[in-house]
């Protein structure tokens, strides 16, 4: 079979899985919905491997394949086919997405076992993976937008999966609104580009772009900045990041899925995919790089003071995506995508391990209440440690190689990029600090009651389920953990998923070691054949300095964390008092939520209520008056309806409107 056939199959399986679980959920016994869904994603992964094998049999320049099933909109002006683009970049993304998603599905089977919405959950999950695969395999802008919008919708379903939980539905809506904002950016950016290139096909656009756009021209810059808005919203970059920490309201495997392998990486993929356009718009590239650097720093500092374990990991995700966005914006495409892959492994692993602790804590997520789980959860501890070391960038774990390569390429760009380089390394120190803060607080120190209970072989159960964010009591129907939950690394499926990811987190860095092997670089090269920035000759001195600084910073971050949270546990409280303003700033997440509330949400709400009042007041008045008349049963009701002010108000509006239209035309005469 050809590579494109495999590509279609990779899309088909998750879609079929989604439909099967959605339509047959009443008839599916027991856990079969989970098994079907997992198998569907695994088949998609196999198909991606098939595509990889098929494409490796072709020579370098022959590795970009387009296949279309049917004409979507082939008519005057538009020419869009239902087509996918299979090239090294899309295969790379499909492998990462489907591979990590398979493990997350596997992990979910025991994790969601006691949930009443078991089949619904897997149906959503399959839909999510389908959307993400559609996004990365899309052969034209339209399918890209379709996948993009689907991912946003699927994230809404999954984040507000526990719909009885008020905070979850709010978080889902927030994510959706910000994502729709990003969609608008993507759609408008597409039209900006389409107006000049005249084609919706990705390859066609890239082929035409250098001829129709002058480098740095206003149009291509505007188009790329609009695309960036889409990328920022999906990838949770400042200032469109506020949905991501709230999105932790979903079940923990969902957090792993959205924040590790799939959704948030879409922005990175978009910039990499559109690199031809971005290289014509250096200003847009600079915007991307600076926002990425800002995000990685701001998110890292917030991660230092958050107490909810999932939110710390969420801010860490934001920060790591910042590295990737910065990387692909400065031209470190392979490095950015390499980091995307390693991050998918160790971040999914961290979320799963966190899910294991949360299970042991019966739903409690606060680091304040955790401690000493080292002996009670040895497997989880090991996984968390591996993930933490990889995230902190300790050699030889995977994160070390990928992060340093991004910073190395950034440094090679010279000029003001050095500032980004420095911020990147400050971020690396912060990463090690907040990561090991989590590890030391959750696993070291004196075991808490839940940990001791688990050591004696019994899993803690909460009597009443409570919302971990607000502490409100919850519905037992919907919302984990019901009294029946029985997990915390005890399940074989969870161990397999975590173990495989741990292997990836340890070993994936070996794919690309500076001066030694270049698997990722070489594989992706055909997708970036036209790029002027792809091959950068690094200087030995920068390379060596980077490796040394990276190692030193990560190790000293861990040592510092050890000193603060293990040796001197009183230190954080003292620091909090001494630097109260800074602490509040970080604790309130740099006041982004408040700023957005004050600048956008509140004015919009005021405008909305004003508009509604002015549009609707007449109507409501009319309805009330009309209702009273009905009750009175007066025979003259109709006459009164005429006099009720309603029609008078209408007539006034109509006359004014007609006058305005006529006036406009007469002025044009």
């Amino acid at each position: 079979m050809s590579a494109t056939t495999f590509g279609w199959l990779a899309l088909l399986f998750p879609l079929a899985g989604c439909l099967t679980t959605a339509l047959l959920f009443r008839r599916l016994p027991g856990r079969s919905a989970g098994v079907i869904a997992t198998a569907a994603i695994f088949l998609a992964f196999l198909a991606s491997i098939g595509a990889l094998v098929a494409i490796l049999g072709r020579s370098g320049s022959q590795r970009e394949l387009v296949s279309s099933l049917w004409n979507y909109a082939v008519t005057a002006g538009v020419n869009v086919r239902m087509s996918i683009l299979i090239d090294p970049l899309s295969i790379f993304m499909m492998l990462v997405v489907s591979g990590v998603s398979t493990l997350i599905h596997l992990y979910s089977i025991p994790y969601m076992d006691s949930d009443r919405g078991f089949a619904r959950y897997f149906s959503y999950l399959n839909f999510f993976v389908f959307s993400m695969l559609l996004l990365v395999a899309a052969g034209n802008f339209i399918l890209l937008i379709v996948g993009w919008a689907f991912v946003g919708a699927a994230s809404y379903f999954l984040i507000s999966f526990w719909y009885r939980r008020r905070t979850a539905t709010q978080a889902g809506i927030k994510a959706f609104v910000i994502n729709v904002f990003g969609d608008v950016g993507l759609v408008l950016g597409t039209f900006f580009i389409f107006r000049h290139t005249g084609t919706m096909e990705l390859l066609g656009s890239f082929h035409v772009a250098p001829h129709v756009f002058a480098k740095g021209s206003a149009d291509v810059t505007a188009g790329c900045i609009l695309l960036l808005i889409g990328a920022f919203a999906k990838s949770a970059q400042i200032p469109l990041h506020t949905w991501l920490p709230d999105a932790m309201e979903g079940p923990t495997p969902v957090s792993a899925l959205i924040h590790a392998a799939t959704m948030v990486t879409a922005g990175v993929y978009l910039i990499a995919r559109m690199h031809t356009l971005f290289e014509l718009a250096p200003a847009a590239q600079d915007v991307g790089a600076i926002v990425g650097a800002l995000t990685l720093f701001v998110a890292g500092t917030i991660g230092l003071v958050q107490t909810d374990i999932k939110r710390v990991i969420a801010y860490s995700t934001m920060s790591q995506i910042g590295y990737m966005i910065m990387g692909v914006s400065v031209g470190a495409y392979a490095a950015g995508l390499f980091h995307l892959m390693t991050h998918a492994f160790f971040k999914a692993l961290l979320f799963m391990a966190a899910g294991s602790i949360i299970g042991a804590m019966a739903g409690e997520q606060s680091l304040e209440k955790m401690g000493g789980f080292r002996r009670a959860l040895p497997f989880t501890y090991g996984c968390f440690l591996i993930g933490g070391l990889a995230l902190s960038g300790v050699p030889p774990f995977s994160g070390f190689f990928s992060k340093d390569e991004i910073l190395l390429v950034t440094a090679e760009r010279g000029d003001w990029h050095w500032a980004l380089y420095v911020i990147g390394y400050i971020g690396a120190l912060l990463t090690a600090l907040y990561t090991f803060r989590m590890i030391f607080r959750a696993f070291h120190g004196k075991p808490v009651a839940e940990a001791r209970e688990l050591e004696s072989g019994h899993l803690h159960h909460a009597d009443v389920p409570r919302n971990p964010a607000t502490g409100e009591q919850e519905d037992t129907d919907v919302g984990f953990p019901g009294p029946a939950h029985a997990i915390a690394e005890r399940s074989g499926a969870m161990r397999v998923a975590m173990g495989l990811l741990a292997l990836g987190a340890i070993g994936a860095g070996l794919l690309q070691i500076p001066r030694t092997d270049f698997v990722i670089d070489d594989f992706l090269a055909p997708s970036f054949a036209g790029s002027k920035l792809y091959t950068i000759h690094e200087h030995t001195s920068t390379l060596a300095a980077g490796l040394v600084i990276g190692t030193l910073l990560s190790l000293s971050g861990i040592a510092l964390a050890y000193y603060i949270w293990v040796r001197r546990p009183t230190l954080p409280a003292i620091a909090r008092e001494r630097a109260g303003a800074l602490y509040t700033l970080l604790h309130r997440k740099w006041y982004f939520d408040e700023a957005i509330e004050a600048l956008i949400v509140r004015p919009a709400a005021i405008a909305g209520s004003f508009a509604r009042q002015s549009f609707e007041r007449v109507v409501i008045e009319g309805a009330i008056v009309g209702g009273a008349q009905t009750l009175a049963g007066a025979s003259s009701a109709l006459v009164r309806a005429l006099q009720s002010g309603l029609l008078r108000a209408y007539a006034t509006m109509l006359a004014l409107g007609a006058a305005a239209v006529t006036l406009y035309f007469l002025l044009r005469a």
Binding site: Y72, V146, T630
Partner: protein, 532 residues
């Protein structure tokens, strides 16, 4: 016999082939009316006879229209024209009318003694729409406009025993008459300056005498535009829409929502793109401004509506704004995009209204949003069409609404109205704020929802009669109809309503994934218009 007679009388040459759909509709209206005065049968089935006859008439008209698919000529002394625009719009109209008749077939009004009147009026209104779309003379245009409107006024008020229905009819009559008068005044001004009633003649006069900036002509254009804005519920002439939509019997609302829009936009396309094409630089920006205002007003007004019919009414206002974008640009692409969106709009609205009707008949919550709660669990076969309709209207990809909106934006952007495309995108963004709560109510709320349980009785009592509460199963107490026992769709819902919902929902999805047939349908629509 009559043909032979006409031939012998050597009157004006009349092309019966081109007029045949119109003749079929009017003839059918007479037959349906006659069937109504037959001695009333007591059997419920006999009451369905007028509906069956109406369906047959529409089917014949549909067949005749398709027979004339490639026709492109003037009829009846250049009064009417049959061309790509007319046949495509006619087909959309007829499909909408089939849906409306099916929805009305077992409604309160449709089964009562006045049932035959309902279908006869519907058919004559349909004939008016045919005339309006085909008209190429201002006189015929106005004739069609009134032939369309007057039966609709009566249809709105056809549930005579229900005051809201009467009120809707009266309100529509008054507002509609103002619209008609404005239109007539505008047409008179255009005639006054150009001295022509035929579209071609007006176009020639504008070109030859350079009338494009003449105050009298532009005054006429303005009033004509206002007149059509009433019919198509374009802001700021939309205020009647929510009231009339809510008050009218729901099947009639469905018909109005779909058919009136097709007719008004079809006529607008022909009038502005043929007769007034010379003044396009002047009216283009004005119409674009109206479109933008309509998009914003409609979508903001729909936010927070609790009644599905009002929500759909406001949504119809917003959707009219989208469609105007295709008229504004006056290109072949614009005409196609408008017609394609009309077809898409037909499917989405039929699906939505069918579900609303089904809920009205089986629950005592009428058309309120609360009535849709937990529908996914109790009636998945109704929840799916409604979900698809809402997503489609919001323009979510993989629905026909996305295709249509995409085509409209493309048409706008291709002709220098990129900003209007931006407004369409922003409007769709706002619209998610009221379409998604409908979806959420069906999938994420249970029927016996906790919040607002107290207010349920107050909602139940004073409702002045949902369209057909009387003929459905006896109103049950809220909550008595439990979710626990899912009934198969069609047990309480009339099967034809569920069928309309399912087919329209399926079409919304199918044409979203495979829009090729729709593009083929509208491909010939721009033929023969004097476009830019």
């Amino acid at each position: 016999m009559s043909a032979a007679l006409l031939g012998a009388l050597s009157g004006p040459h009349i092309e019966f082939a081109g007029l045949s759909p119109l003749i079929a509709l009017l003839g059918g209206a007479v037959v349906v009316l006659l069937a109504g005065v037959l001695p009333p049968f007591e059997a419920p089935r006999a009451r369905l006879l007028p509906a069956a006859l109406a369906l047959g008439t529409i089917a014949i008209a549909l067949g005749l229209t398709i027979w004339q698919w490639h026709a492109q000529r003037s009829l009846a002394g250049s009064a009417l024209r049959i061309d790509g625009l007319a046949v495509v719009a006619d087909v959309v109209l007829l499909v909408g009318a089939i849906g409306a008749v099916l929805l009305a077939a077992r409604s309160h009004a449709g089964r009562s003694r006045s049932g035959a009147e309902l279908y006869a009026l519907l058919l004559s209104s349909l004939a008016g729409m045919f005339v309006l779309i085909g008209a190429q003379s201002t006189v015929i245009l106005f004739l069609g406009f009134e032939l369309l409107s007057i039966p609709l006024y009566v249809l709105c008020a056809i549930e005579r025993e229900r005051e809201r229905s009467l009120e809707a009819g009266l309100k529509y009559l008054i507002i509609g008459s103002i619209g008609g008068a404005t239109l007539l005044y505008g047409l008179a001004l255009i005639y006054g300056i150009s001295g022509q009633t035929s579209f071609a003649g007006i176009a020639q006069a504008i070109a030859a005498r350079e009338l494009a900036t003449n105050a009298m002509l532009l005054g006429g254009v303005a009033l004509v535009m206002v007149g059509f804005a009433f019919k198509a519920s374009v802001a700021p002439f939309h205020q009647w829409t929510p009231d009339v939509y809510e008050g009218a019997p729901t099947p009639i609302t469905a018909f109005m929502a779909v058919a009136t829009k097709v007719a008004a936009l079809g006529a607008l396309l022909r009038l502005f793109d043929v007769a007034l094409i010379g003044a396009q630089p002047t009216w283009g920006p004005g119409l674009a401004a109206l479109a933008a205002v309509t998009i914003i007003v409609g979508n903001v007004g729909a936010l927070g509506q609790a009644s599905m019919k009002r929500l759909l009414a406001w949504s119809a206002v917003g959707q009219a704004g989208y469609m105007l974008a295709g008229v504004v640009v006056s290109t072949r692409l614009g005409v196609r995009a408008t017609l394609l969106y009309l077809a898409a709009y037909l499917f989405m609205n039929l699906a939505a209204f069918a579900v609303v009707i089904a809920r009205e008949r089986e629950s005592d919550l009428g058309d309120s949003l609360r009535g849709l709660r937990g529908l996914a669990a109790s009636r998945p076969l109704l929840a799916w069409p409604m979900t698809l309709a809402m997503l489609g209207l919001a323009g979510i990809p993989a629905t026909v609404g996305f295709v249509g909106k995409f085509y409209l934006i493309d048409a706008a952007a291709a002709n220098g109205y990129t900003w209007l495309g931006v407004v369409i995108v922003i409007g769709s963004m706002i619209s998610l704020g009221y379409y998604l709560p409908v979806v959420a109510a069906m999938w994420m709320r249970s029927e016996r929802s906790d919040e607002g349980a107290d207010e349920a009785p107050s909602l139940r009592v004073p409702r002045p009669g949902g369209a057909s509460a009387a003929d459905g199963p006896l109103p049950t107490i809220a909550g008595a109809q439990e979710t626990a026992e899912p009934q198969p769709a069609g047990a309480a819902t009339h099967p034809e309503v569920a069928l309309v919902a399912l087919l329209a929902g399926a079409a919304t999805l199918f044409f979203g994934i495979v829009p090729g047939p729709l593009f083929d349908l509208v491909s010939g629509a721009g033929r023969g218009l004097g476009l830019l």
